[in-house]
Protein backbone atom coordinates (compact mmCIF):
# COMPACT_ATOMS: atom_id res chain seq x y z
CA UNK A 1 0.00 0.00 0.00
CA UNK A 2 1.44 3.40 -0.89
CA UNK A 3 1.95 5.82 1.94
CA UNK A 4 1.26 9.42 1.03
CA UNK A 5 2.21 10.77 4.43
CA UNK A 6 5.64 11.36 5.93
CA UNK A 7 6.81 9.44 8.97
CA UNK A 8 6.13 12.42 11.22
CA UNK A 9 2.40 12.30 10.85
CA UNK A 10 2.00 8.61 11.25
CA UNK A 11 3.67 8.07 14.59
CA UNK A 12 1.70 7.76 17.81
CA UNK A 13 1.74 11.21 19.43
CA UNK A 14 1.32 10.80 23.16
CA UNK A 15 0.54 14.43 23.98
CA UNK A 16 -2.41 14.68 21.67
CA UNK A 17 -3.82 11.40 22.84
CA UNK A 18 -3.43 12.19 26.53
CA UNK A 19 -5.17 15.53 26.09
CA UNK A 20 -8.09 13.83 24.42
CA UNK A 21 -8.34 11.26 27.21
CA UNK A 22 -8.14 13.86 29.98
CA UNK A 23 -10.91 15.85 28.38
CA UNK A 24 -13.12 12.79 28.02
CA UNK A 25 -12.63 11.82 31.64
CA UNK A 26 -13.21 15.32 32.98
CA UNK A 27 -16.29 15.66 30.85
CA UNK A 28 -17.79 12.36 31.94
CA UNK A 29 -16.99 12.18 35.66
CA UNK A 30 -15.30 15.46 36.64
CA UNK A 31 -16.83 16.77 39.85
CA UNK A 32 -18.91 13.63 40.52
CA UNK A 33 -18.68 11.27 43.45
CA UNK A 34 -18.67 7.50 43.00
CA UNK A 35 -22.16 6.15 42.36
CA UNK A 36 -22.62 2.48 41.68
CA UNK A 37 -25.67 2.99 39.51
CA UNK A 38 -23.92 5.37 37.17
CA UNK A 39 -20.53 3.72 36.83
CA UNK A 40 -21.54 1.58 33.88
CA UNK A 41 -22.67 4.61 31.96
CA UNK A 42 -19.54 6.57 32.92
CA UNK A 43 -17.13 3.95 31.61
CA UNK A 44 -19.12 3.68 28.40
CA UNK A 45 -19.15 7.45 27.97
CA UNK A 46 -15.46 7.87 28.63
CA UNK A 47 -14.44 5.11 26.27
CA UNK A 48 -16.80 6.07 23.47
CA UNK A 49 -15.98 9.76 23.71
CA UNK A 50 -12.24 9.03 23.62
CA UNK A 51 -12.59 6.70 20.70
CA UNK A 52 -14.62 9.13 18.62
CA UNK A 53 -12.15 11.94 19.31
CA UNK A 54 -9.25 9.67 18.43
CA UNK A 55 -10.83 8.63 15.17
CA UNK A 56 -11.29 12.32 14.33
CA UNK A 57 -7.51 12.68 14.36
CA UNK A 58 -7.64 10.95 11.00
CA UNK A 59 -4.46 8.93 11.48
CA UNK A 60 -4.03 5.44 9.98
CA UNK A 61 -4.26 3.76 13.39
CA UNK A 62 -6.33 1.09 15.07
CA UNK A 63 -7.11 2.01 18.68
CA UNK A 64 -7.85 0.04 21.82
CA UNK A 65 -9.14 2.07 24.77
CA UNK A 66 -9.56 0.52 28.22
CA UNK A 67 -11.07 2.25 31.21
CA UNK A 68 -11.06 1.14 34.86
CA UNK A 69 -13.10 3.02 37.46
CA UNK A 70 -12.55 2.01 41.06
CA UNK A 71 -14.07 3.27 44.26
CA UNK A 72 -11.61 4.60 46.84
CA UNK A 73 -11.73 2.13 49.63
CA UNK A 74 -8.18 1.37 50.59
CA UNK A 75 -7.93 -1.64 48.31
CA UNK A 76 -4.93 -2.04 46.05
CA UNK A 77 -4.85 -2.54 42.29
CA UNK A 78 -1.92 -3.45 40.03
CA UNK A 79 -2.08 -3.30 36.23
CA UNK A 80 0.48 -4.39 33.66
CA UNK A 81 0.46 -4.68 29.91
CA UNK A 82 2.69 -6.47 27.49
CA UNK A 83 2.63 -5.74 23.77
CA UNK A 84 3.92 -7.43 20.69
CA UNK A 85 4.04 -4.75 18.01
CA UNK A 86 6.24 -2.51 15.93
CA UNK A 87 8.10 -0.19 18.26
CA UNK A 88 8.73 2.50 15.71
CA UNK A 89 5.11 3.15 14.80
CA UNK A 90 2.93 1.88 17.64
CA UNK A 91 2.54 3.27 21.11
CA UNK A 92 0.46 3.40 24.24
CA UNK A 93 -0.47 5.97 26.81
CA UNK A 94 -2.03 5.61 30.25
CA UNK A 95 -3.84 8.37 32.11
CA UNK A 96 -4.52 7.97 35.83
CA UNK A 97 -7.16 10.32 37.18
CA UNK A 98 -8.48 10.54 40.70
CA UNK A 99 -10.75 12.64 42.82
CA UNK A 100 -11.94 12.30 46.41
CA UNK A 101 -14.07 9.21 45.91
CA UNK A 102 -12.71 7.23 43.00
CA UNK A 103 -9.84 6.38 40.67
CA UNK A 104 -10.08 6.22 36.92
CA UNK A 105 -7.38 4.62 34.78
CA UNK A 106 -7.60 4.90 30.99
CA UNK A 107 -5.15 3.14 28.68
CA UNK A 108 -4.96 3.79 24.97
CA UNK A 109 -3.04 1.54 22.58
CA UNK A 110 -2.49 2.79 19.03
CA UNK A 111 -1.42 0.31 16.36
CA UNK A 112 -0.38 1.49 12.94
CA UNK A 113 -2.08 -0.11 10.02
Amino acid sequence: MDEFQTGEETAFVVDEVSTIIKESVEGAIGGNAYQHSRVNQWTTNIVEQSLSQLSKLGKPFKYIVTCVIMQKNGAGLQTASSCFWDNTTDGSCTVRWENKSMYCIVSVFGLAI
Binding site: M1, G7, A11, F12, V14, K22, V25, E26, G30, Y34, H36, V39, N40, W42, T43, I46, V47, L51, L54, Y63, I64, V65, T66, C67, V68, I69, M70, Q71, K72, N73, G74, A75, G76, L77, Q78, T79, A80, S81, S82, C83, F84, W85, D86, N87, T88, T89, D90, G91, S92, C93, T94, V95, R96, W97, E98, N99, S107, F109, L111, I113
Partner: protein
Protein backbone atom coordinates in the same frame (compact mmCIF):
# COMPACT_ATOMS: atom_id res chain seq x y z
CA UNK B 1 6.35 -14.46 44.53
CA UNK B 2 7.22 -18.07 45.23
CA UNK B 3 10.63 -19.16 43.98
CA UNK B 4 9.17 -21.89 41.85
CA UNK B 5 6.94 -19.48 39.96
CA UNK B 6 9.80 -17.00 39.54
CA UNK B 7 12.09 -19.70 38.14
CA UNK B 8 9.40 -20.99 35.81
CA UNK B 9 8.82 -17.51 34.43
CA UNK B 10 12.52 -16.73 34.09
CA UNK B 11 13.18 -19.93 32.18
CA UNK B 12 10.25 -19.34 29.84
CA UNK B 13 11.29 -15.78 29.06
CA UNK B 14 14.96 -16.59 28.64
CA UNK B 15 14.11 -19.33 26.14
CA UNK B 16 12.25 -16.81 24.04
CA UNK B 17 14.77 -14.06 24.40
CA UNK B 18 12.04 -11.51 24.90
CA UNK B 19 12.79 -7.99 26.02
CA UNK B 20 10.81 -7.02 29.06
CA UNK B 21 10.86 -4.48 31.80
CA UNK B 22 10.97 -7.25 34.39
CA UNK B 23 14.70 -7.27 34.82
CA UNK B 24 15.95 -4.29 32.86
CA UNK B 25 16.22 -0.87 34.43
CA UNK B 26 16.62 1.16 31.28
CA UNK B 27 12.98 1.35 30.31
CA UNK B 28 12.14 5.01 30.43
CA UNK B 29 8.68 5.68 31.73
CA UNK B 30 7.75 9.31 31.71
CA UNK B 31 5.08 10.98 33.78
CA UNK B 32 3.48 14.38 33.81
CA UNK B 33 1.12 15.61 36.45
CA UNK B 34 -1.85 17.92 36.29
CA UNK B 35 -4.00 19.25 39.10
CA UNK B 36 -7.42 20.88 38.98
CA UNK B 37 -9.70 21.93 41.80
CA UNK B 38 -10.66 18.51 43.06
CA UNK B 39 -8.92 15.97 40.84
CA UNK B 40 -5.42 14.97 39.92
CA UNK B 41 -4.36 13.27 36.74
CA UNK B 42 -1.12 11.63 35.74
CA UNK B 43 -0.01 10.61 32.28
CA UNK B 44 2.57 7.91 31.80
CA UNK B 45 4.04 6.32 28.73
CA UNK B 46 7.11 4.41 27.72
CA UNK B 47 9.73 6.11 25.59
CA UNK B 48 8.10 7.83 22.60
CA UNK B 49 7.87 5.68 19.53
CA UNK B 50 9.68 6.72 16.37
CA UNK B 51 12.28 8.78 18.24
CA UNK B 52 15.08 6.31 18.61
CA UNK B 53 18.44 8.02 18.15
CA UNK B 54 20.59 4.95 18.14
CA UNK B 55 20.71 3.08 14.83
CA UNK B 56 17.69 4.44 13.02
CA UNK B 57 16.52 1.68 10.74
CA UNK B 58 15.94 2.72 7.13
CA UNK B 59 12.24 2.62 6.27
CA UNK B 60 11.44 -0.87 5.10
CA UNK B 61 9.74 -1.05 1.74
CA UNK B 62 7.15 -3.80 1.87
CA UNK B 63 6.03 -5.54 -1.24
CA UNK B 64 2.36 -5.96 -1.97
CA UNK B 65 1.10 -9.31 -0.83
CA UNK B 66 -2.32 -8.94 -2.48
CA UNK B 67 -3.67 -10.64 0.59
CA UNK B 68 -7.00 -9.23 1.73
CA UNK B 69 -7.64 -11.30 4.83
CA UNK B 70 -5.54 -13.40 7.19
CA UNK B 71 -4.94 -16.97 6.04
CA UNK B 72 -5.24 -18.14 9.60
CA UNK B 73 -7.57 -16.49 12.05
CA UNK B 74 -6.71 -15.79 15.65
CA UNK B 75 -7.65 -18.79 17.85
CA UNK B 76 -9.76 -17.16 20.55
CA UNK B 77 -10.68 -20.33 22.38
CA UNK B 78 -7.08 -21.52 22.62
CA UNK B 79 -6.10 -18.17 24.05
CA UNK B 80 -8.97 -18.37 26.55
CA UNK B 81 -7.51 -21.62 27.76
CA UNK B 82 -4.04 -20.13 27.98
CA UNK B 83 -5.35 -17.29 30.12
CA UNK B 84 -7.26 -19.63 32.41
CA UNK B 85 -4.23 -21.84 32.77
CA UNK B 86 -1.71 -19.08 33.47
CA UNK B 87 -3.86 -17.15 35.92
CA UNK B 88 -4.78 -20.27 37.86
CA UNK B 89 -1.25 -21.59 38.09
CA UNK B 90 0.33 -18.29 39.17
CA UNK B 91 -2.35 -17.00 41.50
CA UNK B 92 -4.09 -20.00 43.01
CA UNK B 93 -2.58 -19.78 46.47
CA UNK B 94 -1.36 -16.19 46.55
CA UNK B 95 -2.57 -13.48 48.90
CA UNK B 96 -2.75 -9.88 47.79
CA UNK B 97 0.42 -8.00 48.72
CA UNK B 98 1.45 -4.80 46.96
CA UNK B 99 5.04 -5.71 46.10
CA UNK B 100 4.29 -9.30 45.23
CA UNK B 101 1.41 -8.43 42.96
CA UNK B 102 3.38 -5.69 41.26
CA UNK B 103 5.95 -8.24 40.15
CA UNK B 104 3.25 -10.79 39.48
CA UNK B 105 1.34 -8.59 37.02
CA UNK B 106 4.48 -7.90 35.03
CA UNK B 107 5.49 -11.55 35.03
CA UNK B 108 2.07 -12.85 34.09
CA UNK B 109 1.70 -10.39 31.23
CA UNK B 110 5.08 -11.38 29.82
CA UNK B 111 4.31 -15.08 30.18
CA UNK B 112 0.94 -14.76 28.47
CA UNK B 113 2.48 -12.74 25.66
CA UNK B 114 5.17 -15.40 25.18
CA UNK B 115 2.63 -18.21 25.06
CA UNK B 116 0.38 -16.38 22.63
CA UNK B 117 3.39 -15.65 20.43
CA UNK B 118 4.13 -19.36 20.48
CA UNK B 119 0.87 -19.97 18.64
CA UNK B 120 2.64 -18.33 15.72
CA UNK B 121 -0.39 -16.65 14.18
CA UNK B 122 1.16 -14.63 11.37
CA UNK B 123 0.62 -10.87 10.94
CA UNK B 124 -1.15 -10.36 14.25
CA UNK B 125 -0.04 -7.77 16.80
CA UNK B 126 -0.75 -8.74 20.39
CA UNK B 127 -1.63 -6.60 23.40
CA UNK B 128 -1.95 -8.22 26.81
CA UNK B 129 -3.46 -6.27 29.69
CA UNK B 130 -3.48 -7.67 33.24
CA UNK B 131 -5.05 -6.15 36.34
CA UNK B 132 -4.71 -7.69 39.78
CA UNK B 133 -6.67 -6.15 42.61
CA UNK B 134 -7.38 -6.71 46.26
CA UNK B 135 -10.78 -8.01 47.27
CA UNK B 136 -12.34 -5.67 49.77
CA UNK B 137 -15.62 -3.80 49.95
CA UNK B 138 -15.00 -1.77 46.87
CA UNK B 139 -16.75 -1.83 43.57
CA UNK B 140 -15.01 -1.61 40.26
CA UNK B 141 -15.92 -1.39 36.59
CA UNK B 142 -13.58 -2.18 33.71
CA UNK B 143 -14.65 -1.35 30.16
CA UNK B 144 -12.96 -1.18 26.80
CA UNK B 145 -13.84 -0.21 23.27
CA UNK B 146 -11.82 -0.72 20.14
CA UNK B 147 -11.63 1.03 16.82
CA UNK B 148 -10.52 -1.70 14.46
CA UNK B 149 -11.54 -4.03 11.69
CA UNK B 150 -14.17 -6.25 13.24
CA UNK B 151 -13.80 -9.02 10.70
CA UNK B 152 -10.11 -9.65 11.40
CA UNK B 153 -9.41 -8.32 14.89
CA UNK B 154 -10.56 -9.88 18.09
CA UNK B 155 -9.95 -10.14 21.82
CA UNK B 156 -10.01 -12.71 24.59
CA UNK B 157 -10.71 -12.11 28.26
CA UNK B 158 -10.68 -14.06 31.52
CA UNK B 159 -11.24 -13.30 35.21
CA UNK B 160 -9.81 -15.19 38.15
CA UNK B 161 -10.77 -14.88 41.79
CA UNK B 162 -9.53 -16.38 45.02
CA UNK B 163 -10.17 -15.49 48.63
CA UNK B 164 -8.06 -12.31 48.75
CA UNK B 165 -7.55 -11.11 45.21
CA UNK B 166 -9.04 -11.00 41.75
CA UNK B 167 -7.28 -10.84 38.40
CA UNK B 168 -8.54 -9.74 34.99
CA UNK B 169 -6.64 -10.67 31.84
CA UNK B 170 -7.41 -9.21 28.39
CA UNK B 171 -5.65 -10.15 25.18
CA UNK B 172 -6.30 -8.05 22.06
CA UNK B 173 -5.19 -9.32 18.66
CA UNK B 174 -4.98 -6.81 15.80
CA UNK B 175 -4.33 -7.86 12.23
CA UNK B 176 -1.47 -6.03 10.53
CA UNK B 177 -2.56 -5.28 6.99
Amino acid sequence: MSDLAKEKAARLLKKRGSVSSLGSHDVRAKETRDKTKDSISTVSYIDEPGHHDDNPRPAVQMENTFQLAPYRRFPVLTVNDILKDVLASYLQEEKYEAELCRQMTKTISEVIKARVKDLMVPRYKIIVLISIGQLSDQNMRIGSRCLWDASNDTFSSHTFKNSSLFAVANVYAVYFE
